[in-house]
């Protein structure tokens, strides 16, 4: 009897140990996978509002537009400060952004329509560029230039816009448009694609109309 109990106890012990080892191994792997995911997934779900306009708010409205100086496609530096006295639309875009492609023809038309009243657009590309690799940088610039030519973007195009992420509130989504009045103040911000009428209304606001 005693011997049977002893054997039963030993068997139970061994089974319990195996069960524990298996469960602990499963948990360990599961948690390791979760840690990897936690380190990697930085995504933020951005849903449409009922009106189709993203519910995003910029802190820059009614504040001075953050100054910057970026290269254009020819390598020449272009500063926002040099447009003081003009109304400026700082439009962040990228070649891979489909909504940007929709609004670009509107921007081209509106720029031509209001240029005579002291209005300019600075199209700031946020496409990745590799400054450490001259060959790659050349190819990336060429790709942007190809897009610019295809879309007939005849206003100044600046590159490396991702460097303005911090002053311009993260640039988490594209397109983003900041309407700057003649004194350098941001009078309107559009996050995402809205309509040509909205853009025109904000251009008028920047022009002081």
């Amino acid at each position: 009897m005693k011997r049977n109990t002893l054997v039963l106890g030993a068997v139970l012990f061994i089974l319990a140990t195996f069960a524990w080892a298996g469960w602990a191994n499963f948990e360990y792997r599961k948690q390791a996978a979760e840690r990897i995911l936690a380190g990697a997934a930085q995504g933020e779900l951005v849903a449409d509002s009922p009106g189709g306009v993203p519910q995003l708010v910029s802190q820059l409205k009614d504040r001075p537009a953050p100054g910057f100086s970026l290269e254009d496609l020819s390598g020449k530096k272009v500063a926002l400060a040099s447009y003081k006295g003009k109304a400026v639309l700082v439009n962040f875009w990228a070649t891979w952004c489909a909504p940007c492609r929709i609004e670009t023809p509107w921007l081209v038309e509106l720029r031509n329509q209001y240029a005579g009243q002291g209005f300019e657009i600075l199209g700031v590309s946020t496409d990745d560029i590799d400054r450490d690799d001259a060959k790659k940088l050349g190819e990336e610039k060429q790709e942007i230039a190809k897009f610019v030519q295809r879309m007939k973007m005849d206003y100044p195009i600046l590159i490396d816009g991702a460097t303005l992420e911090h002053p311009y509130g993260g640039l988490d989504v594209l397109p983003e448009s900041f309407f700057v009045d003649r004194s350098g103040k941001v009078v309107a911000v559009q996050l995402g694609l809205t309509s040509k009428d909205d853009i025109e209304g904000n251009i008028k606001k920047a022009l002081g109309k």
């Binding site: 997934a41 909504p99 929709i102 694609l193």
Partner: protein, 177 residues
């Protein structure tokens, strides 16, 4: 004296059993404590544009090409470009497995995208994945356990905004048996 002998006799008869039971109980308690210590208090993973659904673990014959279907879900209201977007500037969805992982991606078949037309631009059609989609792969695993950190690269948008392109890690526990 007799009492003492009795106690000693009784003890000598039950001590090994008790020891075993105590040991078993101790092992179970320790395992319980270890599990509690490992259990994540709360998930710190933010909602993603694309979630990997399953499988978390696959077991395949070592050294042989084996079919594994990987399931993903695109966040509600969003779409990502398919592997073959219609426009040249758009970023295709791609999946890869690092060479050093002990698992080789022998073949991958991406699903065809569905056509999507954006408001304001009815003439252009995008090729996209929305909702759930699956990648049909054939992998070859070396013998042993491999916690594979595969990569999914995609670029997500909704009808009016786009999010920057992203490469996320897809964790799959692959057992080559």
């Amino acid at each position: 004296m007799n009492k003492g002998t009795g106690i000693r006799d009784q003890g000598s008869g039950k001590t090994p059993e008790r020891g075993l039971w105590y040991l078993t109980a101790a092992v179970l308690m320790l395992s319980g404590c270890r599990l509690m210590a490992q259990a994540p208090a709360r998930s710190i993973v933010k909602p993603a544009e694309v979630d990997y659904l399953y499988p978390e673990q696959v077991s395949v014959p070592a050294g042989q090409a084996s079919k594994v279907v990987l399931h993903f879900r695109v966040g509600e209201g969003l779409h990502i470009n398919s592997h073959a977007p219609h426009e040249e500037f758009l970023i295709p969805t791609t999946f890869s497995i690092p060479e050093s992982s002990g698992v080789k991606l022998e073949e991958i078949n991406y699903p065809a995208g569905s056509d999507l037309t954006l408001p304001f631009d009815p003439t252009n059609k995008l090729s996209v994945y929305t909702g759930e989609f699956a990648l049909d792969t054939r992998i070859v695993a070396a013998k042993g356990d491999h916690l594979v950190e595969a990569k999914l690269r995609y670029q997500a948008c909704n009808n009016s905004i786009c999010l920057p392109p992203k490469t996320v890690t897809v964790a799959i526990d692959v057992v080559g048996r």
